[in-house]
């Protein structure tokens, strides 16, 4: 037998290599077959169906117990209130999908078949995605059916779709994390447990990390999906790294892609954290305003918010005409109807004589656009971080600084601001039966009439507040100069 050294062996010619097209076609077939197989395996196990029934039960309970069984608040409850529970349950379901017993072990397949790890991992991952989407769809379907069946209120499918879209990225991130951990460690308890721990940190430690990383907020969907894709690339790299193609170019491509995508996601989160309203910026606004001494007859500080396009909208921009500022939250009763009534008022008086500005108080900044779309009004909705906390502002759990300025602790509430930037003291009622009263007050404000103000707040309303915090409108003298207004990015 002739013996040659390996280095003197001829390299293969180009003809000897399989055609690129055939390889891609084969890879696609294997990926699709794996995906279909995984969907079948996942959906023939009881896990997703049991979790789906549990979540559907929660949806039904929400319909029965909600103050208003309408689509918008119910959809909000599904994503914002039941959502975290759904996410952790789905993470455990995802972990179980990656576990071995029902599957041929991945390494064995890689060793015994001409299949690439990416084809298997991507097929299994997508199968997992379908597997965790089914319980959520069950929940949403059951809630919609219950709403229609129990309350006969009109079904707004778009509200549920938006709620699903708001919730699913976080379910996808945690599910992918659980899937990745179990796939790499091959230990269900370890992978599922670590994913559960990550969920705990993400949902209960929200005050300890920048809000631009919160997976439950729709404005962070890009960051959440970027994190998910990075995780997936890390799994692909890890499998490439430990298999036969350790030094293959594809292993480096996956590794570098994971690194670049991770960095891009991090940068996006940092930029969003600087430019989007957040708890940090709400606190900054509160800190600027708390020492301002505003009398009722003084102009209000130049509060500023972001509109549905992310652009700055300030109170100063509405000077010269009365402004009806309406503070709402996504779970408010009769919200769409209220927005439509406000739109009618706006049209009745004309935009040159009256400004109507619905302010959505929510940590989820995508809600304003959803409400604008669902209500079908021409109103320019704006958003502010946080919920209303009345005259109390907790820096460690920051709420809406605008609500704090007006001392509002519930929604929907309205404030009528005169053309000179001072606040009308009369209470503004928003109920349908008070429409005439609302119109009358608006007419007076347009005419420049000064109505009888409500009594001043108690002499020392700040007694219940933390030291150094003075409720606006309670004490003289001097209004806050407009130049002191915070930028929209700083929560103003």
């Amino acid at each position: 037998m002739s013996v040659r050294s390996a280095t003197s062996l001829p390299r293969p010619s180009a003809d000897a290599r399989a055609s690129w097209t055939a390889q891609v076609s084969g890879a696609w077939s294997r990926f699709l077959a794996t995906l279909l197989l995984e969907i079948r395996l996942n959906l023939t196990t009881p896990g997703p169906w049991l979790v789906g029934v549990v979540l559907a039960g929660f949806g039904y309970v929400a319909v029965r117990t909600a103050p208003e069984a309408a689509s918008v608040p119910l959809a909000w409850i599904l994503s914002a209130e039941i959502g975290p529970l759904a996410v952790v349950l789905l993470a455990f379901v995802a972990a179980s999908f990656a576990h071995r017993p029902a599957r041929y072990e991945m390494n064995e397949l890689l060793e015994s078949k001409r299949v690439a790890s990416e084809e298997l991992i991507l097929g299994r991952w997508l199968g997992m995605v379908v597997g965790i989407a089914v319980p959520l769809l069950l929940q949403y379907g059951a809630t919609m059916l219950a709403q229609e069946g129990e309350h006969k209120s009109p079904l707004v499918a778009a509200a549920y779709a938006a709620s699903f879209a708001r919730l699913f990225p976080s379910a996808l991130l945690l599910g992918t994390l659980a899937f990745a951990l179990v796939t790499l460690t091959r230990v269900l308890i370890l992978g599922g447990g670590l994913a559960g721990l990550a969920w705990f940190v993400l949902y209960f430690g929200q005050s300890f990390y920048p809000s631009s990383f919160r997976p439950d907020l729709s404005q962070n969907a890009t960051v959440t999906l970027g994190q998910t894709a990075t995780l997936l690339l890390i799994v692909l790299t890890a499998f490439r790294g430990q298999r036969r193609a350790k030094r293959a170019p594809s292993a480096y491509v996956f590794g570098i892609s994971a690194g670049l995508l991770g960095i891009a996601t991090l940068l996006t989160a940092i930029v969003n954290g600087q430019t989007m309203p957040s708890g940090r910026t709400a606190t900054a606004t509160w800190e600027r305003l708390r020492d301002g001494r505003i009398r009722r007859q003084d102009p209000l500080p130049n509060l500023a918010w972001v509109d549905t396009r992310g652009e700055r909208v300030s109170l100063a921009g509405s000077r010269g005409r009365p402004l009806l500022l309406v503070l709402v939250q996504p779970k408010d009763t009769g919200l769409l109807a209220l927005l439509r009534r406000l739109d009618a008022v706006q049209k009745e008086f004309g935009t040159d004589k009256l400004g109507v500005l619905p302010l959505v108080l929510s940590e989820d900044l995508g809600t304003a656009k959803l409400l604008a779309d669902l209500s079908g009004t021409a109103l320019g909705l704006v958003s502010e971080w946080g919920r209303p906390g009345g005259r109390t502002f907790k820096p460690d759990e920051p709420g809406s600084s605008t609500a704090w300025v007006f001392g509002i602790d519930g929604t929907p509430r309205a404030v009528l601001i005169r053309p000179d930037g001072t606040r009308s003291g009369r209470e503004i009622r928003l109920e349908p039966e008070a429409a005439d009263d609302l119109r009358q007050q608006v007419r007076r404000a347009i005419a420049g009439e000064t109505e009888e103000d409500e009594p001043e707040p108690p002499a020392n309303p700040g007694a219940s507040l933390p030291p150094g915090i003075t409720p606006p409108g309670a004490t003289p003298p001097g209004g806050m100069p407009a130049g002191n207004a915070p930028a929209p990015g700083s929560g103003g």
Binding site: M1, V3, R4, S5, A6, L9, R11, P12, A16, R17, A18, Q23, S25, G26, S29, R30, A33, T34, L37, L41, T44, R100, P101, A102, R103, Y104, E105, E108, L109, E111, S112, K113, R114, V115, R243, R244, K246, R247
Partner: protein, 300 residues
């Protein structure tokens, strides 16, 4: 079809050489790869199946270089790991269909025809709809063989294919392996010499990373021709035999007064009372070959 190794070497990062420079050729047919644990069999198989990069040298599988033509090698390779899981909740036929697809059979019509053909050949047609998880160990092993060869590989590597099977299933699997070896090279890595004896046309014995025997079974038997012995003795005699010779088998017979043990051994000359020659077996030859390997002390 043939497999040729050229100075094929594998040294692990710790400095342990699992396979010393190896030069051998395997022709078409069944090749038995024998050797104790740690002999380097698994390392050699993993290199041939492109799962492990050689430290030096290379191997040609049907003319394809395992270092530079991995896809081509993988295309003509079938591999049955010792422990394999399959999909317990799938039916036999659909499991084999999926495995065929992963093995490169992308044409559905062709793949289905192959599935039917191989179900027939491994005698699982009547169980085609049964869940894999409900199959017996032997049936699973036959299904494993079918999934390893469904894409008609030219080189098939079986790692302990009969481990854990009952005698009937073992015989069935052996026959199947013999049938498969017609126009391809089948490497049968095993500790069970009887498996090799009944199927292999070529035997390679490895010890401590080196090939200590590489020839036909007949040539291997020739090594122990006139060197195979047996004697009836007691426990003391067995201890003495073990001191001086390579004992291959010990049988205790309950009705033999005073000498309950039938001891078989190999050696050039055996100087024990009552010893007699016997016809050599492949197990005798294996023990002899292993005893004669450079790293083993050859007993007088």
């Amino acid at each position: 079809m043939q497999v040729q190794t050229i100075n094929l070497t594998r040294t692990y990062p710790g400095g342990v050489t699992a396979v010393h420079p190896l030069n051998l050729q395997w022709p078409t047919g069944v090749v038995g790869l024998l050797g104790p644990n740690g002999a380097g069999k698994t390392t050699l198989m993993r290199m041939l199946s492109t799962l492990l990069e050689p430290s030096n040298g290379t191997a040609l599988v049907n003319g394809f270089d395992i270092r530079y033509q991995k896809p081509q090698v993988r295309e003509i390779l079938g591999y049955l790991p010792q422990d394999f899981g399959l999909y317990p909740s799938l039916g036999v036929a659909e499991c084999l269909d999926y495995m065929g697809l992963l093995a490169g059979l992308t044409n559905r019509k062709q793949r289905r025809a192959r599935v039917e053909e191989w179900l027939e050949r491994v005698n699982l047609t009547e169980y085609r709809n049964r869940k894999v998880g409900a199959l017996s160990g032997g049936m699973k092993r036959r299904l494993g063989i079918a999934q390893a060869v469904i894409h008609e590989p030219r080189l098939v590597i079986f790692d302990e294919p009969t481990a854990g099977l009952d005698p009937e299933e073992r015989m069935r699997v052996r026959n199947l392996l013999s049938e498969l070896g017609g126009d391809r090279t089948i490497v049968l890595s095993t500790h069970i010499v009887a498996d090799v004896a009944s199927t292999a046309q070529m035997i390679t014995v490895m010890s401590r990373g080196q090939v200590v025997f590489h020839d036909t079974p007949i040539a291997m038997l020739d090594r122990v021709r006139d060197r195979s012995w047996q004697v009836r003795t007691d426990d003391a005699g067995l201890a003495a035999a073990r001191e001086r010779y390579l004992v291959t088998e010990v049988q205790r017979e309950s009705n033999s007064d005073g000498a309950p043990l039938l001891v078989r051994m190999v050696g050039d000359e055996v100087d024990l009372p009552g010893v007699e020659r016997r016809s050599p077996s492949l197990e005798d030859a294996y023990v002899w070959v292993m005893g004669a390997s450079p790293d083993t002390v050859v007993k007088p």
